[in-house]
Symmetry: C2
Amino acid sequence: MAIRLTDVANEAGVSLATASRVLNGSARKPAEEISLKVRQAAEKLGYFPNAQAQALARSSTKLIGLIVRDIADPYFSSIARGVQRGLGESGIQLLLASVGSDHERELETIRAFMSQRTDAIILSGSRLLEGDQQLEQLLENYQANGGQAIMIGQPLALTGGIQIDNDGTAADLASALVRLGHRRFAILAGDPELATPRHRAQGFSDKLERTGIAVEQTLHGAFSREGGYLAMSDFLTAREKRKESGQICVFCVSDVMALGALHAIRERGLRVPEDIAIVGFDDIPTLVDVTPSVSTARLPLEEIGRMAGEMVLSHSGAKLVVVSGVPMMRGSSELATAD
Amino acid sequence: MAIRLTDVANEAGVSLATASRVLNGSARKPAEEISLKVRQAAEKLGYFPNAQAQALARSSTKLIGLIVRDIADPYFSSIARGVQRGLGESGIQLLLASVGSDHERELETIRAFMSQRTDAIILSGSRLLEGDQQLEQLLENYQANGGQAIMIGQPLALTGGIQIDNDGTAADLASALVRLGHRRFAILAGDPELATPRHRAQGFSDKLERTGIAVEQTLHGAFSREGGYLAMSDFLTAREKRKESGQICVFCVSDVMALGALHAIRERGLRVPEDIAIVGFDDIPTLVDVTPSVSTARLPLEEIGRMAGEMVLSHSGAKLVVVSGVPMMRGSSELATAD
DNA sequence: CTGTTAGCGCATTCAC
DNA sequence: GTGAATGCGCTAACAG
């Protein structure tokens, strides 16, 4: 079908080997004169090297895989952009999979990437709290065959990657809020089986406890905007029933959940922060356009992606880097002046 | 390095061909008994088919390429998610490239995808207004070799894809605003060399003209949040100098630009919509969390991506589908009651 | 139904 | 510095 290197070699009147050496950097350098002929022939015929054939012959694809939960979620799309940046001009191509919360599909994707012989796989969804046998086994196999497994979030014992200090960052967030004067707290905690939301909630409430403050309520919901919306709705309904009032500060374990929660609050005609103070986590780019500005813990998302990309390039996939977030106190968590 | 099919065949005590037939759907079905042995051997050895070798032998990769300008932009990430959805369980893998506004890089990416022998390439950035020789030639070559070139936005003469009726939709938007009572308009028009922003601005102003209304000002800026911010800043500075006041409705050719513009307006302490009414285009998911709610033309972004993905599956890449947006009048374009 | 064999397109030893 | 030959891992005729 397409033009092969053989065709180019024939057209140029040289051997296959020579054509190969010209069109790809080989150790041996053919004469300039002959190089030109080959290049012209390739140009004329519209030759494109067959990456599959090259991969087979060199036993090295220049492919890596990135697995995210939802590419339309700003958290993941920021990371994805960072990865692309990190890859830069390396010529490495990125295989993307947006697998949703479907764990089985995630495993299938890893298998697919292994089949593609990707040089590295970057996993960016949240891990289950209890170790995942299948996943670990798969990645171990992958690494045994020379693949780099890089995790963003909570690296496994056997993988390197970027570890996000969810626990410590959430604690800092708690401290900052107490310093602001908040004393009443609730947590919108996300799926209790996932490590990330779990650690964030835990870090937050532990810190409060050490300060002598008890979290009044912990609600669980899906780790998504929808989940935040529903959980907050439940919270508000219960609050109404109790005819309770007075500002309370609700820590949402992700910005995306916080936005859903914000929506639920507004829908009921309540005010942020006067009635409910809101705090998120991640500092997704979307936040800049939200009013009131949402307090959160800033994670350098794009930078995290970039680091992962660079780890691929430098073959330092086994390295572990820890990244912490920094509290950003904005409008949504201002202390109500009078009660 | 890795386990080969040959290894599996040996382990199972069958021939290479039989192993191949068992592990991949072939027309000929080996006996159940022997199939089992092969599968067990594969499992035991941890065999993963080498996709490159398969591609070479079958001359069919199950790969497609998606090119966007910026994967972190909600417009593109929504489309990307749609494409993934459209691909569904097909087992086709997605190669993603986020090329920025770098035209040369876009061409390079297409070449890379051609080398990868992707079955299809979905182009989703905006085209230049004047035909791009190189791009067309490249895609023509690609199609001649059996590739599907699918464009989202403004398909070229030689490609199919999803055409967005920017012109007509912008006109509808203009009508809706006039119907609301607006009479004073400005356009925040984006890069004049790109087809998409150009068509939107043109469609909008043409419709107004036919209604007997002249656009007071047209500003150009980059087709991005930053561009929207800067252009609006200039607009407001000029307006201040002229000591002008009174509501004017500014049509931003994309939501992302509108958000940048909104930021600039707020920064100066002006109000939306009382001082400046804002209208965007696309209806990116981000908008739901912005107050006031931003008027726009709703494009079914995810659906558009899904359609593109399905076109790949059904090999109908040459088909042309036209999608129109529908005006969504929300808070940001309310008419100021008194002036 | 199963095994043998010949490529798929290219990189790379090895001779010249 | 250049060409001929071998093999990367697998599929798909072709025989048996």
